[in-house]
Symmetry: C2
Subunit: 191 residues, 2 copies
DNA sequence: ATCGTAGGTCAACGCTTGTTGGCCAACAAG
DNA sequence: CTTGTTGGCCAACAAGCGTTGACCTACGAT
């Protein structure tokens, strides 16, 4: 018996993917307003109207372009000791493996929908980790938030503002400096 | 003999100031692109063409609107111990006393000129502090950069992205948690 | 051979943007 | 009373934006 749900991979799926890839690049490089549909369409070598056909409008395109799975380990299998090192290391990978997070941060800084999406990611993917790893569950939101300030601050100055001394830091230096901070925010007793 | 250089405070100076105030508000709320000259002019209750007359073009307006003096203490009189607490405290004051820094951060995230202005402030106002306070002057740029990641990360999540748990933190909690981090980045031995 | 449809182009719409230049009222100096 | 300057408004421009709908082409199923 033939498999029913094997998606036939329509030809247009390639176009859809090309649009998404171009959109991610433009959003990451220019932010929401200056990443025009026309420019994205030109990058994807199709007509601007195709973007509308496939994603409805610019907001829909953005929503489709930046869907993030941080891929953080299951709360159960968390190394409670050096969770700091694990998180910093994972985040560095994420920021450098593609441009989605840069796009999200650049857009989030000026666009309400972008900011809300970042809040969602924080709430649903970072908070659970803090909930399992920090001593008093009631402190989890505050502790997760503190960790986020450090991790996002690094991303901001390194990948968006591009402060030269921050860009110059090696991966090892960053981990060595930031891991204790994140570790303390998540697990150390309140000051 | 009459004083020669007492500026006669022309009537238009009030208009100039109104434009700058409106511009800061709009840049802080909307970022560079969505803060339109028309909207700023309407806030200042004057005609859009006046903005051009007084500031040349939109870039000129932005440059005039965001001039930041962090007002950090002279390197000589620096409390080398709890410099962390002093810096965190000072930065919280700065972010809350007006909207200039919010405007600068929002614009810097999507606008090259904005990012470069932030680099300039970092280089000329934050670096000197690190130079005097950290053990090895050669490490000053890296250490100042690390402190900047933490301070700007807080500002980003609290004043721009507005993560609820970060907004909920009290001023005292922030100082208590962040001061040791900044202190360590600036003065502790390399890890 | 025909027909429906998926995939795509093209030209245009209405709107907003930054920016320009001409016009006008007030008012102080001569 | 004239005249020049200061401070301001108004109307318009060209360019770029998101978005729309009409039209074309290839092709698999009937």
């Amino acid at each position: 018996m033939a498999v029913m749900n094997e998606s036939p991979r329509r030809r247009s799926d390639d176009t859809r993917d090309a649009i998404l890839a171009a959109a991610r690049e433009r959003f990451a490089a220019d932010g929401y307003e200056r990443a025009t549909i026309r420019a994205i369409a030109k990058d994807a070598r199709i007509d601007p109207s195709m973007v509308m056909r496939y994603y409805g409008n610019k907001e829909g395109l953005f929503a489709a372009a930046v869907s993030v799975d941080l891929g953080l380990p299951e709360p159960a299998s968390l190394p409670r000791h050096d969770i700091g090192r694990a998180l910093v290391s994972r985040f560095l990978d994420l920021w450098e493996e593609n441009e989605v997070l840069t796009a999200l941060l650049r857009v989030g800084a000026t666009n309400q929908a972008g900011a809300e999406r970042m809040q969602g990611i924080f709430r649903e993917q970072v908070m659970p980790v803090a909930l399992r790893v920090c001593p008093d569950p009631e402190q989890a939101p505050a502790r997760a938030a503190l960790a986020a300030t450090q991790l996002l601050g690094l991303a901001l100055t390194r990948y968006v503002l591009r402060f030269p001394p921050t860009v110059a830091l090696t991966r090892e230096e960053i981990v060595a400096w930031l891991a204790p901070t994140v570790q303390r925010y998540l697990t150390a007793p309140s000051p």
